[in-house]
């Protein structure tokens, strides 16, 4: 596939006076992406635009080169596992997945064998003849994944797929998704739980308030945040001297020492200024730094800082 996986140009979607998503410009090459944002951030609206369930109020959406609203044949290349539950209590998994696969235009016998294969992949072979109403939430989740992959789409979209899964289920789904990516398929995984996404992909789209705040991998997102508030943890000897040299700086907003004063959490309004000052201060003969790191180097930290910037809170408080 030479086309862009997703190409969104100036896309906004309004629900009367409410903005679902606003002014999204997004061009993504085929690959795996985590769509991350808190509940109500606009993830589902964005997915609905990508899958053609919704038309943009402004702008254009193209998936693999096609408009999913007008050129519905492209839906054969997309598998969607939505966040909503399956409510077909009297139908069993094989009937339902076969039905969903056949709706893509496959003959019944082909759809049947594809459904069996998909259910096998998600570990539902043993239970596929039982009515869906008798399944646990985790089992229904697997069946939803099976209907999304049975027709072998290029792009798999999952909306909060880990909901209701027990730890083993989570592990198995994560393994499957890693394998899915490894075989050259594309993935968009929407979640509000960052560490689940970090286990599967390193490329992120951070969404909040209907806007994409940042895209890229964790380090790119962090580098975007240079010049913004941060909390940095330094460890070593001579930290009193190190900090003394910074006390008069306007960008220093707080310091918290450990009991034996060999570790300090330093809060700054501008992390670039801090790192410049740190380089000079670290040359002092009394200072011997052992480590310098963001107090929480995870994507969660980066995301929290992005939200802080997005809300206009430019200075952190002690």
């Amino acid at each position: 596939m030479s086309e862009l996986l997703l190409d969104l140009q100036k896309v906004s979607r309004f629900y009367k006076t409410v903005i679902g998503v606003g002014d999204i410009d997004l061009q993504l090459e085929p690959g795996a992406y985590g769509l991350i944002g808190p509940n109500g951030a606009g993830k589902t609206t964005l997915l609905n635009l990508i899958t053609g369930m919704l038309a943009p109020s402004i702008g254009t959406v193209r998936v693999l080169g096609a408009d999913p609203q007008r050129e519905r044949a492209i839906l054969r290349e997309i598998g969607l596992c939505p966040a909503t539950d399956i409510l077909f209590p009297n139908v069993n998994a094989i009937q339902w997945v076969q039905y969903q696969t056949a709706l893509h235009g496959f003959p019944t016998s082909t759809a049947h064998s594809m459904a069996i294969k998909a259910l096998e992949i998600v570990g539902m072979s043993q239970e596929m003849h039982r009515p869906i109403g008798s399944y646990s939430l985790g089992m229904r989740q697997r069946v939803k994944v099976a209907q999304a992959i049975a027709h072998d789409p290029h792009l798999l979209i999952l909306d909060e797929p880990f909901n209701g899964l027990d730890p083993i289920g989570r592990y198995e789904l994560s393994e499957f998704l890693r394998e899915w990516i490894a075989t050259g398929h594309s993935l968009v995984l929407a979640s509000h739980i960052l560490h689940e996404v970090e286990e599967i992909t390193t490329a992120f789209l951070l969404i909040h308030g209907g806007r994409i705040l940042a895209t890229g991998d964790a380090s790119e997102v962090n580098s975007m945040l240079s010049g913004f508030p941060a909390e940095i943890e330094v460890a070593g000897r001579g930290l009193d001297t190190l900090v003394r040299n910074m006390l008069q700086q306007p960008w220093l907003t707080g310091i918290q020492f450990s009991a034996n004063r060999d570790c300090a959490k330093i809060r700054v309004a501008d992390n670039q200024e801090f790192y410049t000052a740190l380089r000079d201060a670290a040359n002092h003969p009394e200072v011997n730094l052992q480590s310098v790191r963001s107090s929480d180097g995870s994507l969660q930290s980066a995301f929290d800082r992005l939200l802080t910037v997005h809300r206009g809170e430019t200075r952190t408080q002690l």
């Binding site: 399956i86 709706l103 496959f106 759809a111 209907g210």
Partner: protein, 264 residues
């Protein structure tokens, strides 16, 4: 895993929806309704005849049979099956899966239309047989025109309720009942050109022609004038095709179940 889907995707999809939905008709509740629709008109007419000791005039029996089987029976079956075609999917949160298939939206309308027509005919035809045996002396002739009327009624009202269900996916049943009472009930009885927009008028005109009942024919001639049966049949079939086509267009473009409060 890659297999090729067939080019006749819409036909396949319609067939799959019809197959899937037909399999879902075999539940206790639905079979009970089906049996009730078959039995009710026959039981009511038999009871009435027994109580009146055969004193009810044939015209009265004919009209009662027509109303019970062709109008009420067919309408009830179709309100249950055709009206919630899309609303049911939306409420059970399965619409998103349907809409993610290239032909899913249109296939749901056409596939469920086929099942609604099939299910209603399977109840209304036995019902027509039952009442035909009870009324009049021309049992077989009555049966033939009664079945023809049941067929036309089912085909037309299924398309009508399908369109109402597609346009008003929420409270579609309420809208269907209101429409039936006002338009198919009241408006169809108005002795003016406006009654010609209703299916009821066409079906009643065919009843008058085919039953050969002179009393009915004299009254109808006075009120509605005379239109030949082939025209009525053509209008009913064209009307059904038009409504169903509009329903497929609406379902293709309409956005369902996506509200600001649950989609953001």
């Amino acid at each position: 895993m890659q297999e090729k889907s067939t080019d006749d995707g819409l036909i396949q999809a319609v067939w799959q929806v019809a197959r899937f939905e037909a399999a879902r008709t075999f539940t206790f509740g639905r079979i009970a309704i089906w049996l009730a629709l078959i039995a009710l008109p026959t039981v009511l007419i038999a009871t009435t005849q027994l109580q009146s000791r055969g004193q009810i005039p044939e015209t009265g029996l004919l009209m009662t049979a027509y109303v019970l089987v062709v109008q009420v029976g067919c309408m009830m079956g179709l309100v249950l099956w055709a009206t919630p075609a899309v609303g049911g999917e939306v409420e059970s949160q399965t619409w998103v899966y349907i809409a993610m298939r290239p032909w899913g939206r249109v296939a749901v309308v056409l596939g469920k239309y086929i099942v609604a027509v099939g299910w209603t005919l399977s109840a209304s035809i036995p019902s027509a047989i039952g009442v035909s045996l009870l009324i009049g002396s021309q049992g077989l002739v009555t049966l033939v025109w009664m079945v023809a009327l049941v067929f036309l009624s089912t085909v037309a009202y299924a398309a009508l309720y399908m369109l109402i269900g597609v346009v008003f996916s929420r409270r579609a049943t309420v809208f269907s009942v209101i429409y039936s009472l006002i338009v198919e009930g009241a408006v169809s009885g108005i002795p003016a050109a406006i009654c010609e927009i209703t299916v009821s008028y066409r079906l009643r005109s065919l009843l008058v022609e085919w039953s050969g009942n002179s009393e009915l024919q004299a009254t109808a001639q006075q009120i509605y004038g005379s239109v030949s049966p082939p025209i009525h049949i053509a209008v009913i079939l064209a009307y059904s095709a038009l409504l169903l086509s509009i329903a497929t267009v609406v379902v293709h473009v309409k956005e369902y179940a996506i509200e600001a409060n649950n989609a953001v």
